[in-house]
Amino acid sequence: MTIPGLHLTQIGGGDFLLEPTKNLNVRDLSRLVESITARLMQARASRLYYDLSGLALIDPLYYGWLDTLARAAKTINVKMICINMQPTAAFALSKFITKMPVFETALNI
């Protein structure tokens, strides 16, 4: 089962790695969230690593997508951790958020 715009790979145990591609359409939010959570539930995942290394900038729209995904993951007891956030993206994101996001962040896996 492939989800358009991203690669979702099981990297061992209950850990999943999500790598978005350039074709990811974050406007198609609800359908994406549904497919991803379905896949995570099926595999009884416990952690979802979201790789942000290819993303130079995070705008409010993209943040909205990350936030929704993280909250959806939480409902099925999956912790979302964003990894490899670029300095420019962190800078842009810190400009418009007022409190820390729902998801966790880490330098790398």
Binding site: M85, T105, N108
Partner: protein, 287 residues
């Protein structure tokens, strides 16, 4: 500033003059201002200077429009003064010396022209006016160079200050320290943040200790910037520890309703470092 083509015979005579052999006479102002105790130039250089000036002024006076200060001849003369003042300033000279030299050169030039041609130019208002106009423009160009030079020095100093004011040091493997000294404004926060985030990405730093001991005062905008900076560090996946908040700053933060709930704070830099080590599982013990 075009010179009126009036009926002044002397001005016409001036423009028709064949100029030569006045370079030696023109050396006097150079000797006076650049060769005395300040030793900005040697005698040969002054001689070269006078020769060049003689050629340039002769070509200006002999040109089609001697009063037009956009003509190539005038621009060449202006360039000559620009280079001269640049040289003098570079050698540690004063702008005053160049201005005095220029003024003195005007008088010397009229004198020398009078002597070689036998026409009493200093009696003619139009000739004096013409030279005054020309030399005023030249003095302006000297000042332009001076101001440019000053501006460059100021910029260099500011850049130097910016670099030295926020040293980011890796004090332990994966632990960065950032002592913030002085005032934080938007511009500086931006620069510091950029440097810090890039450094975190490069060094894979796990923790950042931001020390505010050197920050004397804080306002709402600055505290906002600070919170932003902490958020950005946390978003990168590092731990941010803020240390050294002075009592007056603590009071200000409370009265500004700044929420430090998710931000780790410690009293001093050493406490901050201990906390960072603790989180990374490093133990430092006395032997």
């Amino acid at each position: 500033m075009a010179i009126k083509k009036g009926p002044s015979e002397k001005l016409a005579a001036l423009f028709g003059l064949k100029i030569g052999n006045i370079a030696t006479a023109l050396e006097e102002p150079g000797q006076k201002f650049f060769c005395n105790n300040n030793r900005l130039m040697d005698h040969d250089e002054v001689a070269d200077l006078s020769n060049e000036f003689q050629i340039l002024i002769a070509s200006l006076l002999g040109s089609k429009e001697p009063g037009n200060n956009t003509s190539p001849e005038f621009q060449a003369l202006e360039m000559f003064f620009t280079n001269l003042s640049r040289n003098i300033l570079m050698r540690g000279g004063n702008v005053e010396e160049v201005v005095r030299y220029t003024q003195h050169l005007q008088l010397t030039l009229i004198d020398a022209l009078e002597k070689t041609s036998g026409i009493p130019f200093s009696q003619s208002r139009s000739v004096l006016l013409y030279f005054t106009n020309i030399f005023n423009e030249l003095i302006m160009s000297v000042f332009h160079v001076y101001l440019e030079e000053r501006e460059r020095t100021l910029e260099a100093q500011q850049a130097e200050l910016r670099e030295t004011a926020t040293p980011i040091t890796e004090i332990w493997d994966g632990v960065l320290t950032l002592p913030i000294i002085g005032t934080l404004d938007s511009n500086r926060t931006m620069l510091v943040m950029e440097a810090l985030l890039n450094r975190i990405a490069k060094d894979h730093a796990k923790a950042v200790v931001m020390d505010l001991t050197g920050v004397k005062s804080i306002d709402s905008q600055v505290s906002h910037h600070l919170v932003q900076m902490v958020h950005a560090v946390q978003l990168m996946g590092s731990d941010a520890i803020v240390t050294g908040i002075r009592p007056e700053i603590a009071r200000a933060l409370v009265s500004l309703n700044i929420d430090l709930a998710n931000i780790t704070t410690r009293a001093s830099m050493s406490d901050g470092l201990k906390e960072a080590f603790l989180r990374m599982g490093i133990t430092v013990t006395n032997k």
